[in-house]
Amino acid sequence: MSAPSGTVRPVSVASFAQSPNIRRDDQRNEVEGLLPVIAEVFGNIGITKDDVDFICSGSTDYLIGGPFSFVMALDAVGVWPPRAESHVEMDGAFALYEAWTLLQEGEIDAALVYSFGRSSLGDLNEILTLQLDPYYMAPLWPDIVSLSALQARALIDAGKATEADFAEVASRSRRDALANPKAQVAKDVAVDVLLQDPYVVEPLRRHALPPITDGAAAIVLAAGDKATAWSERPVWISGIDHRIETHALGARDLTSSPSTALAAQHAGVADGKVDIAEIHAPFAHQEIILRQAMGLDASVTINPSGGALAANPMMSAGLIRIGEAASRIAAGQADRAVAHATSGPCLQQNLVCVLEGA
């Protein structure tokens, strides 16, 4: 079995599952929503919770408005006898990075990574303000759409993109989402029609925004014998890295993403031909910045799943990018793929993961 050379120890994305992505799931609490996702991610490869050595999750309690909801979520896994477990207040992709790091040490052979979030319970614009610098920015309550619009304007003013480019991204993403049964927003609408959408916060029109989504996702990572036993064609993580930029929005060049570029370099994106890329760009213009940062040219199929414009479950949309990319390799539709996840306002923090089929 050929293993990638870019990492210390080969780790495979052995299984992936996600809930339906919907605007409002008020029928189930977090645990009830996660339960079928965890069951599916284990069931895909015929394993149980006893086959994984570590659990890492990504979520934020502000979404539900209740402290320690991430602890309660473990009820969906079943943690008796006591399990080795960890949690990040970030997208599940960053929880996956922690699990991958632990797998590198060689003490464990398999990990469960999951993430969940119901954005529908509260006011997402207000909740996301709490991720900002608490002295200078959060007290003004700037919403994420407005901050993203500042970035979009900067991109236009720098001559790097136009509103029509944003609409192109949105049109293509939601058209591709028609083939994604888990997508929330899937439709075929032409660019010139989209350009008649009203502005939400100028220069962002409605189509350039992600939907508000309730959902959950899970991935099983495997190394050693488990990786080969659980997959006919293991999907290896050949490189993974994440980088952060200053939280001072006004000290960044919002039209580029140096953190993504650096992460892509360390993950080895340019070391081979990229067939597909699943990019976590919640706002349409961000895909343009991220493509450029990762050096992905026109030959790369971008977001065949529809990306975050088709479904944007908070805390899971990044992890889903890794799952979607891995699924396409496992299905033989691609040999080498790039998955990206972001966190924070205006692409503050970025993770890049390169996946390769055996």
């Binding site: 207000e126 608490p134 002295y135 003004l140 619009a149 500042l150 979009a152 304007r153 006004g250």
Partner: protein, 152 residues
């Protein structure tokens, strides 16, 4: 169980956070209370506004505080036609990243203007402070920025 059988409840989460400012942020907020702006000198001599305690690029401690503003230039802006309930202005306005005169980084605040056609990247703006008696040492001491020479 059908939808109507799942219970709903209004739930308000409140935290009365009070934060220590430290010497650098405290100096900036003290200056705001006085109706003026200060920035911090970074490792390469650049002036960081609003100031952080460290150079965001090198991580070094910042140097002396220097007076900046009150005028500045819009770096980028976004027009809000329907303000949200917690926004600083409740009539249509622009968010903007503004580089104050003498500063090398931009700060976020609201710009009051009659419409998006009045605004442009590169436009000159000036801070409009609240009356002195209402200022407490917070970003809200600035009511908004307004176009230089425009309607106040």
């Amino acid at each position: 169980m059908t939808d109507s059988e799942v219970l709903h409840a209004e739930h308000r989460l409140e935290y009365p956070y009070s934060r220590s400012t430290g010497p650098v942020i405290g100096a900036f907020l003290t200056a705001l209370r006085d109706g003026r702006f200060v920035g911090a000198t970074g490792a390469t001599g650049q002036v960081i506004v609003p100031p952080t305690e460290y150079d965001p690029v090198t991580g070094d401690d910042v140097g002396e505080l220097v007076e900046v503003g009150p005028g500045g230039t819009i770096e980028t802006w976004a027009w809000v036609s329907t303000p949200l309930r917690k926004h600083p202005l409740q009539t249509p306005f622009a968010w903007a990243l503004i580089t104050l005169d003498g500063a090398d980084t931009a700060m976020l605040h609201a710009v009051a203007a009659s419409g998006p056609d009045d605004l442009a990247t590169g436009a000159r703006v000036v801070a409009r402070f609240k009356p002195a008696a209402e200022r407490v040492g917070a970003m809200s001491d600035i009511e908004s920025f307004v176009l230089e020479g425009g309607a106040s």
